[in-house]
Point group: D3
Chain length 122, copies 6
């Protein structure tokens, strides 16, 4: 997933560095859409995850899995969201669910590992 992050950052840089006003504004809207509002951030990230699953976009799924894990979505909650996506979107989503559960376990393991490692900054 490090390679995923690196490529993503480098190409976003290319897109945004081109100074196309429309593209820059769209990226801003995209960020703002998941901020706390009438619905809370957690619900919105889950909405983004399920939308990405039914539209079958692996990179979008990876991104929202990380965001969700970062705000405490549990493995059981991920599975419950996957189930909604599976029923709505059908078996065609299954290859994406396979990659998604893989990402979930990578991200949750990293989080556990970090939590278990004492951070001695002093």
């Amino acid at each position: 997933m490090d390679e995923f992050d690196r490529y993503r950052a480098a190409m976003n840089e290319k897109l945004l560095g081109s100074n196309h006003l429309g593209i820059k504004r769209f990226f801003a809207l995209d960020t703002q859409a998941y901020e706390e509002g009438a619905l809370d951030k957690r619900t919105k990230e889950l909405l983004g995850l399920v939308a990405s699953l039914v539209l079958r976009c692996d990179d979008c799924i990876t991104y929202h899995v990380k965001q969700c894990a970062g705000i405490g979505v549990t493995r059981d909650e991920f599975l419950d969201a996957f189930n909604v996506a599976l029923v709505v979107g059908g078996s065609i989503t299954i290859p994406h669910l396979r990659r998604a559960i893989d990402r979930v376990d990578q991200v949750l393991n990293e989080t556990d590992h970090e939590a278990a490692t004492p951070h001695n900054h002093d």
Copy 2:
């Protein structure tokens, strides 16, 4: 929306009355996917709504708008969910958002009206 409900019920009857085991089981899974679980019913109905918006299925949107309104989703929360769908799915979702906000206002008005009407059952 009464005509929508009538046609929906009559055709579901046709589909389920045909006793195809696979179809019957799928309909059962569909119902169960939105029941209280690791995620609560309210979150799941919002997931169903946003999935329906990005997949651009008007009948599915109408159904989930009703379900959401029935469990207290407010107009501002609907708009916040619409915004996630709009950013993820793009301008191609706008005609569906137009019909969706129409449904939301119909359903919320009915709910208000019912709440304002004293139910004298005695």
Copy 3:
């Protein structure tokens, strides 16, 4: 469905009458794709029907339902094809399945009616 047939014919006429060579050739390819070949016509019409269901195109579904019924696909076979589409494409296909079973019953009833009516051409 008569209105459907009339509009379809009139607009195909407009499209083909415009003498755009690419469009005319595409329409010819479309017709030829369902002709007897390595796979028989019946299998190909079922393939066209299921492809139309998972891509959620009501007009295409109506067309292939008629073609299938015309070459003897039974109600149980339609339901079995619907079930494949439902599992592959998910609950988002259900509104289309409702309209599809409606079309199937209209078309099969017409066929029965015609079969039951003695054709005295002499």
Copy 4:
């Protein structure tokens, strides 16, 4: 198409009148995307039309047909754009092409009629 315009305007009003900042900004971006830039307005409207055809959104198609006609896209150019959409998107786009050619002829006829009518403003 008057009813289409009326409903479209009324529901856009509902969506924008709700003062959701994200939705308002998206609508602004949508308008700006078709303004003169590195590519001219005419090319961009044709891009919007073909994108709408392959994504099979009738309302979006109607909107872009009107915009294109308003800046002088001819019937032959429409057909050439339809052909690209047909080849890219397949026969599943045909029902949308039928409705699109109908819209094109309505819009071009209106334009002709207006051109033929002397505007005596004095």
Copy 5:
């Protein structure tokens, strides 16, 4: 394709081992949808293949290519099914058809090879 099979099995194990009842039941429905019924297994696998092609899901295509080859679908029949998918789904399916014909030839070659190799179990 061995790596494909290994990852698929390991991740299905993760998904099913999580004991989410909805996901387990969906997987069961998915298996049952292709079993002998009103339509035979061979027709159903071809339906699954064409649905996967028009929905452009490479992993699903690979799976159904294997299933089809295992029940005797010939190269000419595969090509005839590909042609239906190509006409329905358009040129956007071509990259998937390229990978699909590659899979077909791998699978059919393996099958030939196995058939040509005497199995001396004594």
Copy 6:
């Protein structure tokens, strides 16, 4: 991108070498759709690019990026076309835009390099 070209050519060869008349004719139609007509080649290639972006087909995007660059589409024009695709198709197109801008820069750099290299054939 050399590997992309090689695999593409080899598999097209497999598909076309199979002598399925429908598939061969479709490939011919696909080529013809982008030839000079009522709309010029440049506009048509841009239409093909944006259709590929909103349908999220990376191989199709790579192909049309090359074609566009070959007939002089500039980096700013690419970005303007990307912006239309982004607004129409939503954030779900962003991972494809990242890969697309990468392709654009590779192709434009190669073109620059070739232009800067004197071709001494004598």
